[in-house]
């Protein structure tokens, strides 16, 4: 990879120090605050740093390093390798389908010995990058053509299909909505989205009949009518609502949540961690976290708007939208607004896989900010 030439902007050959000065430290601070809230709740779960908070801190530190590393790499390098990354991620997904480890009743992981790789997480970012590159390479009038919708649609539907087979409805939804939002930003005519929305509605009964597993159907039914089955599948969501509601405005206090500490609340350190925040810190605690997330989204949108090239813009917004979808789906789920689909709360839920994806995603966001003036042309593709 050369560091000079007619197609490279001045930002491509700056020193590390120069790049660091371009990093949006406000964004990094926001990320630290959100993760800090997560550590606090994880501490409350066990009443100690062990076992949740301490491990989460180690992971976060590792994620922070990854984020900075990704932020400081050359955007051009990623620009050149997007399709390769996509094919790699797709290959890993197929591999999982063939012989992944069985975890939580669904095939999702590849055991690398030191690390359990979840290919669907890699795919979330690879797809964002691949779609961003696809639209970067096409002027608006071409992007609007019908034939140019086929490739993005395939790029999206392949991983969605594979993830659905695992089966992981939550991740499939995240990939689908993340991909669709990039198509929207890339210039695809609005009427296609309206049409796709209508088609999706029409497909619901078909999907219900042929594509969803029984446990997924149960979750949806439970979501629609949690009180029907308060001791079975509806139990989780009922207990989550009770925990949140009983927290009130001020909450019951740090480590004082009865629902969480007496184990009425399920999965409190992972998917239902927002509920625990709501129980112990009340409406105020929840609003503070939502505000921090909003700051992060605003940073994301601002970085995208400041960027001078389509690739960067789409990557930045793609990452932001993915991040947003995590937040929205998780919180809506624990409050009984969406079915329980198993999506963690970004940077707060205990668990390494999603955190790595998100930290790398944030790395790309920072990278775009640093390289907002980069010149990237079609010819930079490794072919």
């Amino acid at each position: 990879m050369s560091i000079s030439g007619p197609f490279f902007s001045r930002t491509e050959n700056r020193t590390i120090g120069g790049k660091l000065s371009e990093i949006s430290w406000g964004l990094v601070l926001t990320v630290l605050l959100i993760a800090g809230i997560g550590f606090g709740i994880l501490y409350s779960v066990s009443g100690d740093f062990d076992p949740w908070a301490s491990r989460q801190m180690v992971r976060f530190a590792f994620g922070l390093v990854l984020m900075m590393a990704v932020a400081l790499t050359s955007l051009k390098f990623w620009f050149q390798s997007v399709y390769f990354l996509y094919i790699l991620a797709l290959g890993l997904l197929v591999l999982v389908e063939l012989g992944g480890k069985i975890g939580m009743g669904a095939q999702r992981w590849i055991d690398l010995g030191f690390f359990q790789l979840q290919p669907s997480e890699v795919m979330k970012l690879a797809l964002v990058l691949a779609l961003a590159r696809f639209y970067h390479d096409r002027p608006l009038d071409e992007a609007r053509r019908f034939k140019n919708m086929i490739v993005p649609a395939i790029l999206i539907m392949l991983p969605v299909g594979l993830v659905l087979r695992q089966p992981d409805l939550g991740t499939a939804l995240l990939i689908l909505l993340g991909g669709a939002s990039i198509m929207f930003l890339g210039g695809v005519r609005a009427r296609w989205f309206i049409g796709a929305g209508a088609a999706a509605m029409a497909a619901v009964p078909v999907a219900w009949q042929f594509m969803l597993h029984d446990y997924q159907k149960d979750r949806v039914l439970t979501f629609l009518n949690p009180e029907d089955d308060p001791l079975g599948a509806g139990y989780h969501i009922m207990q989550s609502k009770i925990a949140l509601g009983s927290g009130g405005i001020h909450g019951k206090g740090f480590m004082q949540g009865t629902q969480a500490h007496l184990n009425f609340l399920p999965e409190k350190q992972t998917d239902f961690i927002f509920t625990m925040l709501g129980e112990e810190f009340g409406l105020i605690g929840g609003l503070v976290l939502l505000a921090l997330y909003s700051v992060l989204f605003i940073y994301g949108i601002a970085i995208a708007m400041q960027c001078r090239h389509t690739f960067g813009r789409l990557v930045a917004l793609g990452v932001t939208v993915t991040f947003f979808l995590y937040v929205f789906i998780n919180i809506a789920m624990v409050m009984g607004l969406l079915p329980v689909v198993g999506v963690p709360l970004p940077l707060v839920s205990y668990g390494g896989t999603a955190m790595m994806t998100l930290m790398i995603g944030l790395g790309f966001l920072l990278n775009v900010r640093i390289h907002r003036d980069a010149t990237l042309s079609r010819a930079d593709t490794i072919e």
């Binding site: 939002s181 509601g245 009983s246 009865t258 929840g286 609003l287 949108i301 947003f324």
Partner: protein, 626 residues
């Protein structure tokens, strides 16, 4: 250049579109986040109170603390029914390293069979591991102590003591005290007492246990504990102790009761000892009895069938629900009715030649050769049937029935026991209503000797003889002295009979026991310086046909048990100043003087020994001096 222009135009249009769409997405995100905030507001502000209540309901478990059932005491405070510790061994599976090994170890020290082991292992598998499993209960102290010694080798095994109902001399008291048994599904219908839903709770089913069940039960306490989602208790938040049940004190004398039960032996029947001035029932025995603790844990089908199919009816409370013709014991009432109505005087005589005819009927005296000339005194003494036929014919059913009722027959006495029968004092109206025919002259004769339609219970006979003994005071029988702080009084009114008439009856009853011609002479008191008075009765349970009478009436000893006459005896003592009365019925005992009189005498002797030791000593001293 043209292409460049186009690219430029396009890229500026793309910029605008991107900016527009990025803002749309940003606005969409804002909108969705606002919906989250709205939902949070709804849950945590609008509905917060409701969810707070639900969270408390989750967290707080209200446990009822069963109160200790009240005791049932005799008149001296001896515990007839009480609560004993039930020694048992429990095991908390989560504290046991190896359940099978622990059970094997315990099998060496406790009597555990295959069924027990199966039940224990099933429970260990199916319930949460912190909930205790009962290994063995109702342990003997030795077994319990042995396990306690080995506790060090048995982690997770705990000695425990529960409460169970225990009865003093159960068989003797079963018909008075009653029994308790587990709550049934039917009890739970329309039930408002949450106590009944407690596992192992017992309800009083018969006797005093039943009549005073609510008083004995007490009030439940409660304990609020914090529990987690699996039901494990985290800590106790508050505790309100229950109120133990009331103590019920009976008029019975436990030793006299046990004595009476032993004295009745294998006979089937009932015996009542009564204080004639207060109506206190000192002994109340129905035999055979049964073991009330059989019902405590649930009776087995075999045991139940055994009780039901026994021809001596152990479950029947014969004192209040056994109805017998009073036989000759009723002659006292017939005589009194005659005297009180001035129809016969004590000196009037009737001639007994062994039989008399009335219309087409022939009526016999129990003594075939006849008694000769009889006045009231001798008629009572020798229980002459002819004399009382003649008297009854003259007095008539209405006056006899009226006197019988005044002396407590034909009615239920309130002694707080259920299942009481009223017996039957027949009269013309009753016969017309029931049988559709008027009262006949022959019916008068049968009534005169306490046979025919007349039915009495042993309790009524005791009331009758008590009211005779006390000279005509209508005492009411009392079984319960008090429950809790409430004392039960049974006031008595004078019946209004002339004392000289009562004297005549007393003298006849004295002669029964103390004249050599008396039917009870052989059963008189010999070992106390006091005399008793009594009246025997033998009630036929079969009809003696003319043919049989011609051949000679078959002796009771030669008949099947169920066909023999009931033996009855009513008595009181001491004669000079009466204090205690007794009524004894021995079902199919043959003759009153033979089977019932000795029992009655022994009960009176025992009663006097227990209640009048000073008087006995004084009388003995006086006798020795003179």
């Amino acid at each position: 250049m043209k292409r460049g222009m186009k690219t430029y135009q396009q890229s500026s249009e793309r910029d605008r579109q991107f900016t527009r769409r990025a803002l749309i997405i940003g606005a969409g995100q804002g909108l969705l986040l606002s919906s989250l905030v709205a939902r949070m507001y709804y849950l945590q502000v609008v509905e917060a109170d409701q969810y707070r209540t639900l969270a408390e309901e989750n967290r707080i478990s209200l446990r009822l603390l069963p109160p200790t059932r009240g005791n049932i005491l005799d008149r001296n405070g001896v515990e007839l029914a009480g609560t004993r510790l039930d020694y048992r061994v429990i095991m908390v599976p989560e504290q046991v390293p190896d359940v099978e090994q622990t059970l094997a170890y315990m099998t060496r020290h406790l009597d555990l069979d295959e069924d027990d082991l199966d039940r224990i292992i099933r429970q260990v598998k199916h319930q949460r591991s912190f909930l205790p499993v009962t290994v063995a209960e109702n342990l003997k102290w030795q077994d319990f102590a042995r396990i306690n010694v080995h506790l060090a080798d048995l982690p997770g095994v705990h000695p425990d003591a529960g409460e169970t109902r225990a009865y003093h001399d159960g068989e003797a008291f079963a018909h008075v005290v009653g029994y308790v048994s587990p709550v049934s599904a039917r009890d739970l219908q329309d039930n408002e007492d949450p106590l009944l839903e407690l596992p192992g709770f017992k309800i009083g089913r018969s006797g005093i246990e039943r009549s005073f069940d609510l008083e004995l039960r007490g009030k439940a306490g409660s304990s609020q504990t914090e529990v987690n989602a699996y039901g494990r208790t985290i800590r106790e938040l508050s505790r309100k102790d229950g109120q133990p049940g009331e103590t019920v004190r009976l008029t019975l004398d436990s030793e006299l009761q046990s004595f009476a039960h032993r004295r009745m032996g294998k006979e089937s029947g009932g015996a009542v000892v009564m204080d004639i001035h207060t109506g206190d029932i000192l002994a109340f025995v129905s035999t055979p009895g049964f073991d009330p603790s059989l019902f405590n844990v649930g009776i087995s089908q075999k045991e139940w069938d055994g009780l039901l199919n026994n021809i001596r009816k152990p479950l029947l409370n014969k004192v209040i629900a056994g109805q017998y013709p009073p036989g000759s014991t009723f002659k006292t009432i017939v005589g009194l009715a005659a005297l009180e109505n001035g129809i016969v005087t004590a000196d009037d005589e009737f001639f007994c030649n062994g039989k008399m005819t009335l219309g087409n009927g022939e009526f016999h005296c129990w003594k075939r050769q006849g008694h000769g000339h009889m006045n009231l005194h001798h008629a009572l003494e020798q229980s002459c049937d002819i004399y009382f036929y003649q008297v009854a014919r003259r007095v008539g059913v209405e006056k006899i029935a009226e006197m019988a009722r005044r002396f407590g027959l034909g009615q239920v006495h309130d002694i707080h026991l259920s299942g009481q029968r009223s017996g039957l004092v027949p009269d013309d109206a009753w016969k017309r209503a029931t049988l559709g025919v008027p009262w006949q002259g022959g019916d008068n004769l049968n009534l005169g000797i306490g046979q025919g339609f007349l039915l009495t219970t042993p309790l009524q006979l005791a009331v009758m003889v008590s009211r005779i003994a006390n000279g005509g005071l209508a005492i009411n029988p009392r079984l319960v002295i008090s429950h809790g702080s409430e004392v039960i009084e049974h006031p008595a009114q004078p019946i209004g009979v002339r004392p000289e008439n009562m004297e005549h009856i007393h003298s006849g009853m004295w002669a029964v026991m103390n004249s050599v011609h008396g039917t009870g002479f052989r059963s008189r008191i010999r070992d106390l310086p006091f005399e008793m008075a009594g009246k025997s009765g033998s009630a036929q349970v079969r009809r003696i046909t003319k043919a049989e009478r011609a051949q000679g009436v078959i002796d009771n000893e030669d008949l099947e048990w169920q066909l023999r006459d009931h033996a009855l005896f009513t008595a009181f003592a001491p004669v000079e100043s009466p204090r205690y009365a007794v009524a004894v019925v021995v079902e199919h005992g043959g003759s009153g003087s033979g089977a019932a009189a000795p029992v009655a005498r022994d009960l009176l002797v025992e009663t006097m020994k227990r209640f009048m030791p000073k008087e006995i000593a004084a009388a003995r001293e006086e006798k020795a001096r003179s």
